[in-house]
Structure formats: C-alpha cells, structure tokens
Symmetry: none
Subunit: 218 residues, 2 copies
DNA sequence: ATATAAATTTAGGTTTGCCTAAAAATTTAC
DNA sequence: GTAAATTTTTAGGCAAACCTAAATTTATAT
C-alpha cells in the first residue's frame, strides 16, 4: 500500500461505499454525484486509477475496486471514524460537527499515528454515528457486538438485528415501528432505570432497558 | 484570513522563519533551499502570493510578509506546535518522531479544532522541543533566548529547548541523557575549541561548542 | 572598470485535477 | 426495431505546483 493523494483516497472511498449497494460495477454518474465532480472528470480519473492497479474498469462498464483499492478505501474509512471519535470523545465536539473536519484528517499519512490514536481512544468499535471502525487489518467488528443499551445520547444507530427472537418481542418492536435497517436516534437515557427516549421515523418513544439490550445496532 | 493551500502555508511559514535572521527581504534562493524546490518555482510562487496580498515582492529584491501573511504563518506555526504537543503528550511519540506528522497536521483547516486542541492539552506554552506556541491571537509567550554556549563555568542551568530540531541532533542529546527540564551544571570550558565539560544527572560529559550553541537554557 | 560568478527571472514543459461542449455508446420508450 | 433519452467518453482548456535550460540582473574580484 504505497502512497495515495487526497483525491485518490476520496475516489476510492466513494467507490467503496457505492459498491456496497450496487453489486455491478459502480457507474461514472454515481461517482460523479457522490464527489460533486463532472462525469468527464470521473472518467479520466478512473483511467488513471486503473493504471495504478487499484480498480478494474472497462469503458461504459463501471468500476470495481481491486484488493489493493479496497485496502486503501477501508484504511481511509478507519482513519475517518477514529478521528471522529477523537473529536467527540476528547475535544467535546457534537456528533453533527465532526464530519467535515474528519474529511481532512482522514488523509493524514502515518500508519503509526492511526494505530496510536486508536489505542489512545481505547480501541473504539464504533464511531459517534454508530458506524463500525475497521481494525488495523481492515476487519470490521461484527455488528452483533453492539446492543442499543451500550449507545449514548446523541448517537444515531442502525438496527441490525435482535437478540431475543421470540414472537412476543418481535411483535412488540414492530408495533413501535422499529424494523431492520431503521435509524434510531438516542435522545436521552433515564438514570434510574436506564430506559431510553429515542426517535424512530421522526416519532419519539420510550424503550425499557430490557428492550434495549435485545436490539443489535450498528 | 481566508483559506490558503497546503503549499501556500508552507511558503509563508518558511518566509516567516527566514525573515527572523535576515532583516532585508528574504531571498529567492533561501526560500528555495528551505522548501527544497527550484528557485524558478519560488519566483513564480512569489508573484502569485503577492497578488494574494500576503507579501511584498519586487523583482530581485526578495520577499517580506504583509500583516496578513504573517498572521497565516504564525497560525500555521501554532497548529504545528500544538499537534507536536498532542503527539508527544497524548500519543506517546518521542520528540524526535513528531515533526513530519505535524508537517501534515498543521494544514488542517478549522479554527475551532485548533482552539479546542489547545484547551485539551492544557494551553501549553512550549512544544516538545521548547519552541514557544503563539496563542489564538498570534502572541508568543516570552521565551529565553539564552543558549548554553553563553553560560559560564560554575553555573547550573535548566534545558528549555533546542535550536537545531533535526532528528540527528535530538537523537544525539537523547543518547547523552539530556532532555527538556534537565539541570546542566557547567564544570569547565576548553579554551581552544570552546567545548564544555558538564554534569547532567550526576554524569560528567563533554559537549562541543556546536552542540552548546543549539541548546537553549534558562 | 571590467570580467567572472552567483542569484534571479523567463520561457517552455509536465502532472494532477478540474471544467465545458461535442461525440459516441447504451438504455428506454413506443 | 427504431427513435429518443440518458449515460459515458472524447476533445480541448485551465490553474496550481513543480521542473530544466536559457536569459538577465546583481554581486564580487581583480
Ligand atoms: Mn463522517
Ligand atoms: Mn475525504
Ligand atoms: Mn516541528
Ligand atoms: Mn508544512
């Protein structure tokens, strides 16, 4: 993994995320939109990145990252999310303020810096928005590691599964309007019983600590 | 103080330091050497920076920063030194390892980030090499500019910083067991080469006059 | 004072990343 | 299955930073 420019890392990161939903090659237009550059600029960059060996690309057929390309993308995601943790946990920024600063910090090149930052932060598994942080080998934590009761007010997390799969529990959360893939925004945690006030689909509702322990999030 | 590129900040910082000793305009060659670019590149950049209003420059007459230019330079120095403190104090880097990483971090643009970092670090007045850190208004703390070679036998002085911050020199004095805050007792000065016999931590050792000139004391 | 040397600028190129406008390929619509 | 719409690529340019080689200006030395 040699050195990549600011811009190259941004392209690789964008293609990495876009290729998660679309299973074919990532389209020129999709990249263009995501990076707010013109499609012609993207075409040119794709040719350059292909020559560097970080992606496969044939005219009109979209792009797919190579192993090396994915490694660079994941490393950039890792840096981005670790810095977001730093900004929120150590410098007391709000979770909504940190993205743009992390967009800059994610391009600092020093393997040692990233690894020591991770250690300093106590090896966090998720960033302030609940997104998983890959380890130094590029391995993401399994989402089932994190249940809702381990999250903090201010976080927004995605429902990834349930621990209790009984019909009673599933019916209960379905009635509340909570389903797989939904975003839960944590508003407040009651001190005395650890129940949570949350917002889902714009609706405010209360969840007991027992319910929270049974919802896996990411 | 609008936004400046990575490169512009580096030029302004270099000119700022160079204009501290040379009281006339800073020469093209001096900048070229300090930034390891060719003189012709510097000439071109000086014209551009003049148009931006950050320095005065007339053909063959060298460059001088305007108030705005100096503000940018000092702000960059501030960021550089605060990040060096962070790396040493919080991430346990050695003081000889941090300069290159700080060269990158100093260009992150967020006033808020810099100020909160400073607060997180406890408003340090000096970086790990003993260099003074300007406050958010660009004001430097008063720093002693007394170097060891100006001291006399019999004196005991405290190490406050180094003039030469190269890894070679830092490693050298680290090997000798000399660090920030250490007490140096001057035993004898050799007449013929002005080398010093000193005692640190109870150990006797010899320092060349070149080494002595590069150690700031108080 | 003139010749030589050194410093600086000019001229002409390169690479990275971006743009607009036009052409070509692909997809969709009838 | 062709025509229209959309997507993508090509062609040609531009700005920031860099370079080499050739002038030009300034400094130095006899
Ligand atoms: Mn983010
Ligand atoms: Mn980015
Ligand atoms: Mn430094
Ligand atoms: Mn720098």
């Amino acid at each position: 993994m040699s050195r990549y420019t600011f811009t190259e890392e941004n392209y690789l990161k964008a293609i990495y995320f876009l290729s998660q939903d679309a299973e074919k090659g990532v389209s020129t237009n999709a990249i263009s939109e995501s990076l707010e550059t013109k499609p012609s600029t993207v075409t040119e960059m794709l040719r350059r990145l292909r020559e560097k060996g970080v992606l496969h690309y044939k005219k009109y057929q979209g792009a797919e990252l190579t192993e090396e390309g994915e490694k660079v993308a994941i490393s950039t995601v890792r840096k981005h999310r670790l810095w977001e943790c730093f900004l929120v946990d150590k410098l007391n920024f709000g979770w909504e303020e940190v993205h743009d600063i992390a967009e800059q910090l994610e391009h600092i090149q020093s393997r040692q810096l990233t690894d020591r930052l991770e250690e300093f932060l106590g090896f966090p598994k998720y960033d302030p928005h609940g997104d998983p942080i890959p380890d130094k080998n590029g391995v993401f934590p399994h989402s089932s590691d994190l249940s809702l009761d381990n999250c903090k007010p201010g976080q927004t997390v995605k429902v990834r599964g349930v621990k209790d799969t009984s019909p009673e529990f599933l019916k209960y959360i379905a009635k509340l309007g909570i389903g797989l893939g939904d975003d839960i925004h944590i508003l407040e945690i009651e001190d005395f019983d650890h129940s949570m006030m949350i917002a889902v689909h714009g609706k405010k509702l209360q969840l007991s600590s027992i319910a929270c322990k049974n919802i896996f999030v990411q």
